[in-house]
């Protein structure tokens, strides 16, 4: 476990257990994710990746301890936590009636007083987020009329509009075509360069290997947590996928290919 030591943790879990429908999905996970870094969570189907992310975000009932920015998750007030931690879910489809612009503005909810109208700062942030995901052109269209990939970019803009220190994304690449996957990668890099912490669950191993650190989850526990360029991480990844993949260097990045 060559965790990236020396940095304070953005999110830290100790003995995190989650039960869903009477079945224990996570069996006591210990994990410390450093600030200002992009961590990718990977693993086979049904390993508990999404559940882990939800547990870290405090979105499922769990036992064990989770700390956000050095403070127990339970001690945060809802709106305060909402300003520091943004969530982009995997399967959540927004109701199709909202305009794109209004939907992205919902990311400002934790910043606004109850029932208050958004101010100029909020409008500026929403515009910036929509432009960052190249969704500005559809700001007036209802979300229900967008394609899957377009909608995914709008949802990403909604998460960016929170301007949170910690950004958790479950399968954010769903429906994105390769150019927009590249844009997403640049966007994540930019967020991390601004000092933000990004945690993503990813199926695309090649994309995940572009992160700073990899958390490998299998069977409801963390099998490995290490830097992406570390050969030991590659071996652990190959092992968890039963040697059915091989990791190769290609043009300055790592590529996972089936074998």
């Amino acid at each position: 476990m060559t965790a990236l030591a020396g940095r304070p943790s953005a999110i830290c879990a100790r003995g995190l257990r989650v039960r869903l429908g009477g079945v224990e999905i996570l069996h006591g996970v210990d994990l410390a994710l450093p600030t200002g870094r992009w961590t990718a969570v990977v693993g086979p189907n049904g390993a508990g990746k999404s559940t882990l992310l939800r547990g870290l975000a405090g979105l499922v009932a769990s036992s064990g301890a989770v700390e956000l920015l050095g403070r127990p998750l339970a001690d945060w007030r809802g709106r305060e936590r909402g300003r520091r931690l943004a969530w982009l879910g995997q399967v959540e489809v927004p109701s199709g009636d909202l305009r794109t612009y209004d939907l992205v503005m919902l990311g400002r909810l934790p910043h606004l007083a109850w029932l208050a109208s958004p101010g100029p700062v909020d409008h500026a942030v929403v515009e910036q987020a929509l432009r960052a995901t190249q969704a500005w052109d559809w700001r007036d269209r209802p979300v229900g009329q967008l394609s899957g990939g377009e909608r995914q970019r709008v949802l990403l803009a909604r998460a960016l509009a929170v301007q949170a220190d910690v950004l958790l994304m479950d399968e954010p690449l769903g429906n994105l075509d390769p150019p927009h996957q590249a844009d997403w990668l640049a966007l994540v890099r930019q967020q991390v360069a601004q000092g933000r912490t990004v945690v993503t669950v990813l199926h695309e191993l090649t994309m995940a290997l572009g992160a700073d650190a990899l958390v490998i989850v299998a069977g409801g526990s963390v099998r490995w947590h290490g830097a992406c360029e570390d050969p030991a991480t590659h071996r652990a990844l190959e092992q968890v996928f039963e040697q059915r993949i091989r990791i190769h260097p290609l043009e300055g990045q790592w590529v996972a290919l089936p074998r």
Partner: protein, 338 residues
Amino acid sequence: MTQPRTARYQSALLATALLLASGALLAAGAAVGSTGASHWTALWADDTAGQIVREIRLPRSLAAWLAGALLGLSGAVAQGLFRNPLADPFMLGSASGAALGVAVVLVAGGGVLSAGFGPHGLGLTGAAFAGALAAVAMTLALAQGVHDSLRLLLAGVVVGVVLGALASLLSQLSPQTLPAMQAFMLGSTAMVGWSGCALMAVSLAVAVLTGWMLSPVLDGLSLGEATARSLGLPLAAMRLALLAVLALATGAAVAQTGLIAFVGLAAPHLVRSLSRPMAGPLLLLSALTGGVLLLAADIAARGVLAPQELPVGVLTAILGGGYLLWLMRRGAASGGLR
């Protein structure tokens, strides 16, 4: 930067149009009756006719508007709360609960209150209201809380079916209550007086105000449950409060006018097809639209077969069903019912 303003302008325009339509329809409602349409200022001068207008037509027209507004608001709350465009105000079992309450009182009273369920029996009105609230409470208890929408919906279906069956059984056992029971099931505004209007007006004011205050929760929920929670919205408490609004508004409408179909389902759809407001304005506009719809239907119900009167619930069921069918075909063409 202009689009939020455009949206607000559109909503304001729609609200103005709906208010004007409400005023015009109330005036028309006072003029149209079983004696045929006539100029209502002339009626006001004539004593008997004036009394008909003041004591029957005006209150029943206002009652139709208020009941429609309550149902439209409930529909918008239910659809937002359950994130389901097909949610309607009665889906937590309130309709069947109200029916059972009415059946119990009718059977206990030996069916003598068969003239109607409005001014004659505060007992009937109260029983319908209590039955509606009890049914919602039962649904909440069965669903073990408000945190699981699917469980709430299923519990609502169960409570609705079982209470509805009990109500049918009761009225089957004492056939003399059947006409009154049927009048309730079909829905009618014919018997509502000023006191009923006052009750509904107060309920509407409370429901609209509370609904507006809680509207950010509905906005957040449109993103999905987990995302709404990640934004720091206190979902559990506010959901319970919204369910209370739903129960109050449907209970108040059902208690006065019986089961009126489709207004609560169709009003929010109609609003969304004309404008795309956030939850707060949607609640207001749905209430106004529901009022206009039911009042228009009520006037039509009085006029179509005059001097015979069509139960307004039958008319709204036919019109609302047709509208939804049209919406479905249009929705299928543009990729899904929204």
